[in-house]
Amino acid sequence: MTALGSFLLAASLAVPAAFFAACFFPRRRDAALAWQWVAPVPALLAALAALAAGPFDLEAPALKLSLRLDLPAALLLLVSALLWIAAGAGAFVDRAERPERRAAVSWLLTMIGSLGVFVADDLVSFYLFYALVSIPAYGMFAFDPSPETQRAGRIYLAFALLGEAFLLFAFAMLAVGEPHGSLRIPDVVAALRGSPWRDAALALLVAGFGAKMGLVPLNGWMPLSYVATPVPAAAVLGGAGVKAGVIGLIRFLPLGIPLAGSGEALAFIGFATAFYGVVVGVTQQNAKAVLAYSSVSQMGVIAAALGMALAAGDPDAPALVAFYAANHVLVKGALFLAIGAFAARSARPAAWTPLAVALALSLAGLPFTGGALAKAVTKPLFGYGFAAVLASASSAGSAMLMLHFVSRLPSLRRSDATASPEPLVRFWPAAAAGALVVPYVLLPFVGSFEDAFALSKLWDGLWPIAVGALLVVWLARAAHRLPRIPAGDTIVFGEKAFNRTMSSGSLFDRIDAAFGRWPAAGLALLAIVLALAYATAGAG
């Protein structure tokens, strides 16, 4: 089984890479891009095999690659592969509605990164896949010439690159802190405990992965880019793409030894994000922006759970949080497809609305949905104190936000940004049903049904929904009094500051021109000679 597992693990990256390689042969290119939705199948099989008989390891020293497929990775890889296959099939099967070539290549590269980042086991491979899931995603939406899309693309890229820079700095600290020169993630994280750069590295890691997850204050790019992104791409990015940040935190936080200060700080950021996402989200009118803020909020919950686990030194957290995130992959993907479906049909089948409501409330932990299982599984991480209250309150907030989302669905009109290929419109109920059912299949690997269906859990699940429903009634009455917060909220200040910085660029032109004059150049040369002479003689 281990041999088979390693083989499948290798294939789960090699097969998508082969599709990419085929793009360099003009005669194979279009076929490779049209059929790329089958490329995640080996990853799906590898994840299944790992759930049954994992974990698997794989080393490819020539490519400087080492991979590991353990339980958290298998959970996330399984559902992400499912989402990439489902959304990909819907997007690419129909010849007439297929994304154009450059967007299709970006799709493929992002997919490779999205699958690879879950299984990467050393710093350099992880960084490579992380860059792949972040940067090419720009091409999945940003080639549209409309100014709003261009703006969203620029902002997306700026945050992606900023996050990469934070991470690279953190990774350098991790690598240097490891005394034996190993670059494997478990080794460098184990060495982090005694490292002099522990707190700096943790802060940079949270900033880097937080930029991907949309943790406050690095959340502004998310609503902007989801609003601009076509439905199939938004489904995979909002579902699978952001989980690169989650797996990052799972892999790199030194869980298992209590770090109270850092853990509480992360939990604080997480809860702040969870509530911030709800508060700003309910002021949004665009359904995709509402989903984006719901993602912000959910990622906040995940960060809070990991923060609590870090503070408590809980070694079981990775699989539990991965299960929570896996549920979010499925639900968020299906909800984006719902936007496409509702926009495409003015006369909708009667079953669509209840399905959408169930799906939406799954994120708030509606009993008997996958979300209820996810909440039940992660409940121990929050303990029984103040954090548990906050977690329940955030569920109530989520219920309000998601009901607000459902209220936006009937008025959806078909536009470029909500356009969804016909197969995705027809089959979205199947995707939605899958999103509600698959967590049941995965639950036995991280918890038990008895726990999840205890009567107290049922009550735990129901009251936040009830509170959320009351809040949304209030919201409907107060809607006209609420401020209109632009999608991307704080990003407006960021842009202003950026433009102000850019306008100082003419100063550099003047400096350049000044050094071009001979007296200035001569003086510079002389100054360098004197400075070097001083330095060389100083200690002599």
């Binding site: 020539a62 490519l63 400087k64 154009e100 450059r102 350099v124 960084y127 490579l128 860059a131 940067i135 091409g139 940003a142 080639f143 010439p145 693309g153 620029r154 890229l157 690159l161 900023l162 990469e164 820079a165 690279l168 700095f169 990774f171 350098a172 600290m173 690598a175 240097v176 750069w197 660029g505 550099f508 032109d509 400096i511 350049d512 050094f515 071009g516 150049a521 510079a524 040369l525 360098i528 000679v529 004197l530 400075a531 070097l532 002479a533 001083y534 330095a535 060389t536 003689a537 100083g538 200690a539 002599g540």
Partner: protein, 501 residues
């Protein structure tokens, strides 16, 4: 005192590496006309073979190979010496020069109706002269000999910058020449001072005899400043953008990719091989600070250029800045200097290939669009996908994103700066990467839009293939195996102790 150095096995290869291009120059003069092109391109495989043979011999013996000219050991004679970095640079030169040459065949063929044209003859002879000069720079073990090589390099590079013969190229070349000459004078003055103090200019002997004398202080300052002017380190960079941006594309590729590395290589020789015994404190911080200023300044100006070639030229200024971080990050006897040294040298190679590829791609763009104004690139990537792929891959390395040589370099330099507690350089490296992403975005984003575009001429397939190959080498450097780093450590002074934790 160690026994006088004598010729080692394979030492004759070093002579061949210099003699081959030198003989090519003489033959080109004598035979003239079309033959210059044939000789320049025909000798290229041979030059590559010699470079590879030197590399193999250095690797096999695990120490520098030496040739004592006329059998006389220093201080009586002059020694040629090739260590790991010499070998790596010789191979790099032997790859980039022929790539530029093959690319240049279309633009620098002798017209069929003429027997000889000034432009073509100049180009092919000067290209070989650069080969010869760089070969001497990389294998010479004597500071005066290196002075001659530097002068040869300048006098080969300046004509290349103005080979087109347009008025603005003359102005740019003249400025280049003046800066380079000032640099040479400073360097020569320093040589004279060192000779006066120690009676030799052999690098190995100087290193042994080095003592802190006033003359040494003056010599080190003068020589370094001269070399910085030739390397275009901020704020002595001002000659580079017009010279590199107005030169024809294959010349720009060689000038930006290789020629500035010649004087940088010499700066490294000076501080790591001649002067390490000097109890100098702070010179490394000065060079690092100038490099950091260059990174920020060059990148910001690259962001502000309207023309692609000027953007790439300013990017060279920024990338040169990274090179100078090797002084604070690789000097002294600390364990982390291994990463600093490896990162600095990787940056030399990655930038050489990436920048050469990008200048060649810029030339193709100019030919096909009739301009190189970035604002008018809309939609061009659809018409010229290979060219923009080259720009993208080169840009990947400049930004330091994986997989690429630029990433490997940045990663190693970052590690060295973290390990040594020199945080500031880490911030410079990261900020430089973000700014580079900004200017690469400026090139690529409009080009990828679906705007319709009309080409004056389809891009030359051969030219595209050459540029793309160079960009792929820059990417492949990211996969450099451990043995590559073992190679460039051969002959590095102070390694015996620095390698130990």
């Amino acid at each position: 005192m160690t026994p006088a150095e004598t010729t080692t096995a394979g030492g004759a290869l070093l002579v061949l590496a210099i003699l081959l291009p030198a003989a090519g120059i003489l033959a080109s003069f004598a035979l003239g006309g079309r033959n210059a092109e044939k000789i320049a391109l025909g000798s290229a495989p041979l030059a590559l073979l010699i470079a590879l043979a030197i590399l193999a011999e250095v690797w096999r013996s695990g120490r520098p190979i030496v040739y004592a000219i006329a059998g006389l050991s220093p201080p009586l004679g002059i020694a040629l010496r090739a260590d790991g970095i010499s070998a790596a640079m010789l191979v790099t030169t032997a790859l980039i020069i022929p790539a530029a040459g093959l690319y240049a065949r279309a633009g620098f063929a002798t017209p069929p109706e003429k027997r000889e044209s000034r432009k073509a003859l100049t180009f092919w002879i000067m290209l070989q002269a650069i080969s010869a000069a760089l070969a001497i720079v990389f294998v010479s073990g004597d500071l005066f000999n290196l002075y001659v090589a530097l002068e040869l390099l300048t006098f080969a590079a300046v004509p290349l910058a103005c080979v087109e013969g347009r008025a603005e190229t003359y102005a740019a070349a003249l400025r280049y020449l003046l800066f380079a000459l000032f640099g040479s004078i400073f360097y020569l003055l320093g040589c004279a001072l060192l000779y006066g103090a120690f009676g030799t200019l052999d690098i190995a002997l100087l290193a042994e005899r080095m003592r802190p004398l006033p003359a040494v202080t003056a010599a080190a300052a003068l020589m370094t400043a001269g070399l910085l002017a030739k390397t275009a380190l901020f704020p002595l960079h001002i000659w580079l953008p017009p010279a590199h941006a107005n030169a024809p594309a294959p010349a720009s590729a060689v000038l930006s990719g290789l020629v500035v590395k010649g004087s940088f290589f010499l700066t490294v020789r000076l501080w790591f091989y001649v002067l390490p015994a000097l109890p100098a404190a702070g010179f490394d911080a000065i060079l690092g600070a100038l490099g950091s200023a260059a990174v920020v300044f060059g990148s910001v100006l690259a962001l502000r250029q309207a023309r692609l070639k000027l953007l790439i030229a300013y990017s060279t200024i920024a990338q040169i800045g990274y090179l100078f971080l090797i002084f604070p990050l690789a000097s002294g006897l600390h364990p982390w200097t291994v990463d600093g040294w490896n990162g600095g040298m990787m940056q030399v190679l990655a930038h050489a290939f990436a920048k050469a590829a990008m200048f060649l791609a810029a030339g193709l763009l100019y030919e096909s669009l009739g301009h190189d104004k970035i604002a008018k690139f809309s939609g061009a990537a659809r018409a010229m996908p290979m060219t923009f792929l080259t720009l993208g891959l080169g840009g990947l390395s400049l930004m330091g994103l994986p997989p690429s040589g630029g990433f490997a370099a940045k990663w190693l330099l970052l590690r060295a700066s973290v390990a040594s507690g020199q945080w500031f350089w880490a911030l410079v490296l990261l900020a430089g990467g973000l700014l580079a992403a900004g200017y690469v975005y400026r090139i690529l984003a409009p080009a990828l839009s679906s705007h319709p575009v009309v080409l004056k001429a389809p891009p030359r397939r051969a030219g595209e293939a050459i540029a793309l190959t160079l960009a792929l080498v820059a990417v492949a450097l990211g996969f450099a195996p451990e043995s590559f780093f073992q190679l460039i450590a051969i002959g590095r002074p102070g390694l015996a102790t620095a390698g130990l934790p």
